[in-house]
Amino acid sequence: MGRRRWNKKHPEKAAEQRQQQLRQDAGDPPVRLLALQPNSTTVAVAIGTRLAVVDYKTGCEYTLSAPPQAGQPQCQPHAGCLRVLLFSPDGRCLLTGGDDKSARLWLAEAETARTSEAEAPAAGADVSAGSATANWCCANAWLTPKKMSAGGFTRDGSYAMFADKFGDVLIGRVALPAPGTEQQPEPQQLQLQTPGSLLGHFCTIVTGVAASPCGRYLATSDKDFKVRVSVLPSEPLQGSYEIQCYCLGHQDFVSCVAFAAPAVRSADGQQQQQPQGGAVLLSGSGDGTVRMWDHVTGRQLASYVASAPAAAAGGGAEGGGSGGAEEEPSGAGEEGEEEGDGEEEGAEEGPAGAGQGDADGVEPQRRSKAPPCASVLSLAVSADGSTVAVVVEGEDEVQLLSLDWEKRALTLQQRLRWPDVRYPCQVAFGPTGHLWVVGGVPLPTARSVHVGVAQRGPTGHFTPCTDEVLSTRVRSLLEARVEEEEAKMAEGGELFLYSKHLRKPVYDESEALTRKRMRNDHKETQRLAALRLRQDEKAK
C-alpha cells in the first residue's frame, strides 16, 4: 500500500508520524546576528525573523521594507529566520539572508533620512526627540536553492557571496544606484535573480566566507574541519577554479573565519614597516581553539586554546546546565584521545572495535578526534589588527586576545563580561573602536536578544559602556528581553544549541531503535519472519 493511501486509511497514526517528523526536522535554532555599518553609527541586530536597524547616535530607526512579492504584503523583510547579516565594506548596503532561501541587498542610504525628514515631516517623523524613521529599499534580491548559512562581500564591495548548507558558495553582482541620485519609486516586483556559482565544498555546511584584504583570495570554512583558501579571479561570476591552499589542522568543525591585517601606520610621513607577510587568517572551531594561518601557504602559525575539553575521559555530565552535545556516551571520550594514525581497516569491524573498548558498540560515535568541548562561536578582529574578540559557546565572558604581529602569537589579554548580556553569540568591532556583542538565551524558541557595548580604555583594557553609548530608546528598539526565557534556561536548557547542527548527531540506543522502527523495510522483514514462522508451525 502506498504512503498516501495508508495515510488516508490511518489518519491518527499518520498525524502522529507527521508530528514526530516535524519535531525531528524542526530546523536550526534562531541565531542572533550583529552588523555595524563601517562608515557611520548604524547598528543592525537580528534574531529569528526580527531585524532592527538603528542609528544609535541620532536615534533614527531604519525600516527595511521589501516590495511585495506576488501581491503578498510583507511586514518582515524575510519570511524565514535570518542567518546572514552583513554590511558591505564600503557601507553602502546591507546583505541579509536566511531560511527563506532568498538573499537581499538593502540600500543603506543615510541621506534618505534627511530627505524623508525634509519632505514629509508629518509622516511619522518625530523630529523633536531627535528620532526619525527612514526606509531602506531592497536593491537586489537573489533566489538561493538552499538555505543560507554564511555570507560575505569581496573587498571592493562589488560582489556579494552567500553559502549554503550543501557546500555551494554562490555569487551575485552588487548593482546599486549611484550615490546621490534621486531615489526612484521602486518597481512593484523586484526581480529575484539567480546567483552564479563560485565554488563548492562537497556536501558540507559552509560556516564562514571571508575575502582577504588584498582582494585576491577568499577563505571559506566548513563543517568538515577544513578551511580552504581559493583564488578569486577577476571575473568571479565565472567561478573560482583555483584553490590556493587548504588550512588543515582543526580537530572539529570550523565555525568562523576572519582575516586580520596589521595597521599601516605612517608616522611622520614614514610608512611603518609592515611585518613579513601582511595579513593572516584566523579561524575558530568546535575543538575550542582559535588558529592563525598564513593563507598563502596554508601553514598554521599559532593556536590559542579558548576552551579546554571537558575533564576526564569517560567523564560524566557536568552540572545541570550542560546537556546535548557535551554529554557524549562514555566511550567517545576514550576514542577522542586516540590519535588517528591511518587506522582505516574497517574501523567498524570487529578487531579494531574491540581494541577501542566495547562501551561504544560497533561504530565510532564521533569522527572528530578532539574530546568534546565548548566551541568557539564567533570571532572579530579590531580594525587595527591588534585585538581579537572570541566568543565561546556557553560562557558569558568574551575573551579578548592580543595579536602580536612580530611573534605571530595570540595571547589572552582580558576576559570581558557584560552585566546584562548573557550567553553572547556574536561580537563585532565598530568603526569607532567600540566592541559590540549580542547574546541571549539559547533556546530553540528564543525571541530575546541582548546587546552590549564596550570601549577600550587608555591602557587597552575594555570596559562595558552600554548605557553611555545607547540611549534607553535606542536600546529598547534593538533589544528584546523575555523574562520567561531566562527562567526556562535556568531550569535546564541546552547550552550548546548553536553548534549542535554542526556536529554529527549522536543517538543513544533507544533513539536509534525508534528511528529504525520508523523505517518500512524492517516492518516488512518482521512481517515476513512472522509469516514464515506461522507457515512452519502449520507445516508441523
Binding site: 550543501f166 557546500g167 555551494d168 556559482s197 565554488l199 563548492g200 565544498h201 562537497f202 556536501c203 558540507t204 568538515d224 574541519f225 577544513k226 580552504r228 581559493s230 579571479p233 565565472q238 567561478g239 573560482s240 577554479y241 583555483e242 584553490i243 591552499c245 587548504y246 588543515l248 589542522g249 582543526h250 580537530q251 588517528g340 594514525d341 591511518g342 587506522e343 582505516e344 581497516e345 574497517g346 574501523a347 567498524e348 569491524e349 561504530e363 565510532p364 560515535q365 564521533r366 569522527r367 578526534k369 554529527k504
Partner: protein
Amino acid sequence: MSPKREREDGGNGEKPQHKKKEEVAHPRKRFYRARAHSNPLNDASFDVPTRPEDFDWTDHFPEFLQEWRERQQQQQPEAAAAPASGDAADGSSTAAPASTSAPSSSSSPSEQPLVRFVDIGCGFGGLLVKLSTIYPDTLMLGMEIRDKVSEYVRERIAALRREQPGSYRNASVMRTNAMKYLPNYFHKGQLTKMFFLFPDPHFKAANHRRRIINTHLLTEYAHLLAPGGWLYTISDVPELGEWMRSKLESHPLFERVSEEELAADPAAGLLALSSEEGQKVARNGGATFRNVYRRLAAPRQLQQQQQQEQEKQE
C-alpha cells in the same frame, strides 16, 4: 549443482583436482559482493588524518618504504648509490632493476616517496593490479568507499605480494570517501595521474551533484594534480561521457589530451579492459567513452573556446 558436487567428491580423475577450501590463496569474490551504490553524501565516520603530513604510509607500503629508507642510509655515508641488492630481502631479480632505476625516479633522494597515482572508486582492483607492474617505482593508491570491496582489494594485493615477491609493493587500497577527504591525504600538486573508471552515473537530475566529475570537484582535483598531470575518465553511459567531457572542457585548468598522446600512453590503453567493470562492458558489447585531460599550469581562456564552438555550430 550436481557437477560441482561431483568435483568436490573428487569423482573421476579426468577433471583436475581443485584445492581444498582453506588452501585457496586468493580471496574469493563471492564473499565480498556488495551492492554497487554507496551514498557518498553520507556523513560517515571515516578515520581521516587532519593533514597529509600526519598520515603514516608505512601500513600501506611497508616493503617499498623500508627499501627506500635503507637506500637513504646507504647513500648518506657513501656518495655513490649502492646496488642495494644485498639489502633486498627477497627476489633479487626483480629488486635489482627497481633499485637501479629508483634513484632516477621522480622523488628526490631526500624526500620520502609519495603516492602519485590514484584510482578513485577502484572497485575490485583490476586497474591497480595492472598498473602496478607497468609502473613499479610509482606508489599508487586505490580509494573505495564500499567496505567489503576494499577488503577484497586489500586481500588481493596481499596475496599477489606473497606470490610474487618484489612485485606489487607499490599498490595499496584505502577505504574512504574520496569526494570529501582527498585534501586530507594528499598535498597540493602531489598526484600525477587520477583515474575515474566507470563512475556511477546518477541519472536523476537531483543526484547530479553526486557525480564524481563536476565543476567544483574538478577544482579540487586540479589542486591535487601537478601541472601536466593527467586525469583519466571512461564510461559506458553516453550521457555521462558527454557530461564529463563538457565539465572538463569548461574548466579553465584542464585541456584535452590528443589522441596521438593517448595512443602512446600505457595507462590509457588499460582503461577500457583492465577493471572488472570494463570487462563486463566488453562482454555485453557496450561502447566506451574515454575522456583524458591534462592539468594545465596556468588557466586557459575559456571564451575563445566557446566562440570556437559557436563558430563550429554556425
